[in-house]
């Protein structure tokens, strides 16, 4: 685990170096006078991804995927363990946008919730591999431990009626006597 943390740092350094060389993206960001909040995603990619994730886990009386921090989870892991999925995200998000513009004449994030549902359903059929990735990563970010950047305030665990941390044994363990 120690070495994986090291991997993350190295990648981060490489990322910064790469950004300094090819600074077009950074310049574009500055142009709009705002800093990109994401490590890997562009603002546009993040908007598109958010729309997809929020169809996979929509809001009801409990938060949606994006409200629970799923984008932070996915964006963070694309800098770490999911580096190998970067191309799939780049091309998949672009395909989603193309589909949205062709079908509704505007970007995915601007559609109504009903239109977004239709579009994400179409995406599942047309871009099966990409959709399965996003679906699984969304579930991981929403239902996984908050330590990974998603499941903000352990909201999904509380939705399921679990305590946080969800380890009953630890709370009732008395090292001198063992479990009660």
């Amino acid at each position: 685990m120690r070495s994986s943390r090291k991997d993350g740092l190295l990648t981060r350094r490489q990322f910064v170096a790469a950004g300094a060389l090819g600074s077009a993206a950074i310049a574009a960001g500055c142009h709009r006078g705002q800093r990109n909040a994401w490590l890997f995603l562009t603002e546009e990619q993040a908007r598109t991804l958010q729309a997809i994730c929020d169809q996979i886990i929509p809001a009801d009386e409990f938060p949606s995927a994006a409200q629970a921090g799923v984008l932070s989870y996915i964006d963070g892991q694309l800098m770490r363990h999911y580096r190998r999925h970067r191309d799939a995200y780049r091309s998949g998000l672009e395909a989603a946008q193309t589909l949205s513009r062709r079908r509704f004449g505007q970007e995915l994030a601007a559609l109504t919730p009903a239109q977004q549902f239709d579009l994400v359903s179409a995406l599942e059929l047309q871009e099966g591999h990409f959709f399965a990735l996003v679906r699984n990563h969304t579930m991981e970010g929403y239902y996984g431990s908050p330590r990974h950047g998603g499941n903000r305030d352990a909201v999904s665990w509380r939705m399921l009626g679990l305590g946080e941390p969800p380890v009953l044994g630890r709370a009732q363990y008395d090292l001198r006597k063992g479990a009660s």
Binding site: M1, L162, G169
Partner: protein, 550 residues
């Protein structure tokens, strides 16, 4: 480097025991392990990065970088597998091996499990065979493993077990809620439910405290050290004998042989990547079924051009694991109490004796239920995503029970490990390559077992059920990997003799699940341990008699 009596490759379930037995008997031993020795600091409970749910990597090795394997699909196409992917068939890479993070079910195989061919005949296309040793040969060593490693449980509820001289050393943990729901249902069905034997302290034992009953157990290391593996039992004894040196971070490259065809030691890469030689009177390979076969196949020389022990092309064949099948039951009341280790109740009524089936397996309730596991375990009519999925998570997470079990796998000689001609790992060594698939009768048994699990759940009050029974097009191995260096009397159809000694080289032993002729309908850890004690005993006997020194 100083020559020693024995070099043992792999500090897992078997290697730890062999090192301890030899060291305590007075042999000088070097124990080599490719992974690190994890401490309590490393034993964090990470639901997405452990040894069972590996979407963010393996917690206890190997790392995804630099450790590929290759699997060949049904059409003959090779694919790269990363260690955190299922197709890698991973176990672990650390001191303790799989026993650091296993669920710790500690089963004795049944007497029939050692006589599968005599009991059933070999299904066409299979390599089903009898072991050259019997349950009775292993019984004293099962007992030794139960007492030295430390097993809790209670067999008194079931008639389906081999003869035993002593009860388990520790009582079972108190029943959890699932036990309370499933036990009366099983009895109503005429079955014989009982407490699963576990390598887990239920009371203080071996100087360590009991289980704290957290449910983050299978796939995780135990933060209170109540789960018993080789890393906290036999390996510390081996080291304290003064006769054993453990070297971690050491990847063995090959077994070295002399001009007369005897082993003279091993070559390995140390933690800094430097190639070292450790000379020894005898070499014990305990790297688990896939890596043990790979090491033998990578040990090529003039006398052994196809690898050590591979004169008849038997090394790597008969690769087997378990076909896990079962069912999920959904209830209209809460079944969840978050009391670990989760798995608590089992039946062995279906391991043998079903007309038309060559075997069966144990069925038990499942270990952990973290939210991430529930995502793909919802009723079959649940949408894969959207509001319906989210609502189903809320509805069923605390109202479901999984019953599942390892179906005895029917081995084939085509399901095998070879070494890949092109792909190398970070040390430049040819990697393991899997080809072949699982014998189809295995899936027929699995399907019947899944229906039996479903019937048990329905009797317990499940209002819906869904079956967990799939078919795979590729080999099955994983954490229960076995069979690649089959034990037998005939060198043309097996790799080692009944003492785990290579037919080809009289001072090289394979002692781990590789030697399993068949893999039982149980988690194999205790059998691996019993074989390690059994083979060590014969090794020590021979050492004291004729000796191995040339």
């Amino acid at each position: 480097m100083k020559r020693v009596n024995a070099v043992v490759v792999g500090a897992g379930a078997a290697g730890g025991i062999v090192a301890k037995e030899l060291a305590v008997a007075g042999l000088s031993v070097v124990l080599l392990e490719r992974g690190p020795w994890y401490t309590a600091y490393d034993c964090r409970k990470d639901d997405l990065r452990n040894q069972r749910t590996t979407v963010l990597g393996n917690a206890f090795g190997p790392e995804d970088e630099g450790n590929p394997r290759v699997w060949v699909d049904g059409a003959g196409q090779p694919h790269i597998a990363l260690p955190s992917e299922g197709s890698y068939q991973n176990n672990a890479a650390c001191v303790g091996g799989g026993t650091l993070s296993y669920g710790a079910q500690a089963w004795r195989y049944l007497p029939q499990d050692f006589r599968m061919r005599s009991t059933y005949g070999a299904p066409p296309g299979s390599s089903l065979e009898d072991w050259p040793i019997s349950y009775d040969d292993l019984e004293p060593f099962y007992e030794k493993a139960e007492y030295e490693i430390g097993i809790s449980g209670d067999y008194s509820g079931t008639p389906f077990h081999g003869p035993r001289k002593r009860p388990l050393p520790m009582p079972p943990l108190p029943p959890n809620r699932e036990f309370g729901i499933l036990e009366p249902a099983a009895k109503r069905l005429g079955l014989h439910p009982f407490h699963i034997p576990m390598a887990r302290n239920s009371v203080p034992y071996n100087g360590r405290g009991p289980c704290m009953r957290c449910r983050w157990c299978c796939g995780f290391a135990c933060e209170v050290d109540a789960k018993n593996g080789s890393q906290n039992t036999v390996i510390p004894i081996a080291l304290s004998s003064g006769n054993c040196e453990l070297r971690t971070g050491c990847m063995v490259k090959e077994i070295l042989t002399d001009e007369r065809g005897r082993a003279r030691g091993v070559a390995y890469f140390d933690g800094d990547g430097h190639l070292q030689e450790q000379l020894a009177d005898l070499v014990v390979v305990s790297a688990c079924a896939i890596e043990s076969a790979r090491l033998l196949l990578n040990s090529k020389s003039r006398l052994f051009p196809d690898g050590l022990g591979n004169r008849y092309d038997q090394v790597g064949r008969n690769l087997q694991g378990h076909n896990y099948t079962g069912a999920v039951g959904y209830f209209d009341f809460e079944t969840y109490d978050d009391v670990g280790p989760g798995a608590s109740i089992a039946i062995c009524d279906y391991n043998h004796g079903t007309a038309g089936l060559s075997g069966g397996g144990m069925l038990a309730n499942e270990f952990i239920r973290l939210p991430i596991h529930m995502v793909d375990r919802l009723p079959s009519d649940t949408p894969r995503w959207g509001l319906g999925h989210k609502q189903a998570m809320r509805e069923w997470h605390k109202r479901s029970i999984v019953i599942i079990g390892p179906t005895q796998q029917i081995p084939t000689s085509d399901g095998r490990v070879t070494v890949d001609p092109a792909v190398r790992d970070k040390w430049g060594l040819p990697v393991a390559r899997f080809s072949g698939n699982v014998h189809p009768h295995t899936f027929e048994i699995g399907e019947v077992q899944a229906r039996r699990a479903e019937a048990w759940l329905k009797e317990a009050g499940a209002i819906h059920t869904s079956l967990m029974a799939g078919k795979s097009e590729v080999v099955s191995a994983g954490q229960h990997q076995a069979g690649t260096c089959r034990m037998g009397a005939d060198p043309r159809t097996s790799v080692v003799n009944r003492d785990c000694r290579l037919h080809d080289v009289d001072n090289v032993f394979v002692i781990d699940s590789s030697v399993h002729v068949t893999n039982g309908g149980f988690n194999p850890a205790l059998t691996i341990m019993a074989i390690a004690y059994y083979a060590s005993a014969s090794l020590v006997r021979n050492w004291k008699g004729t000796g191995f020194r040339s």
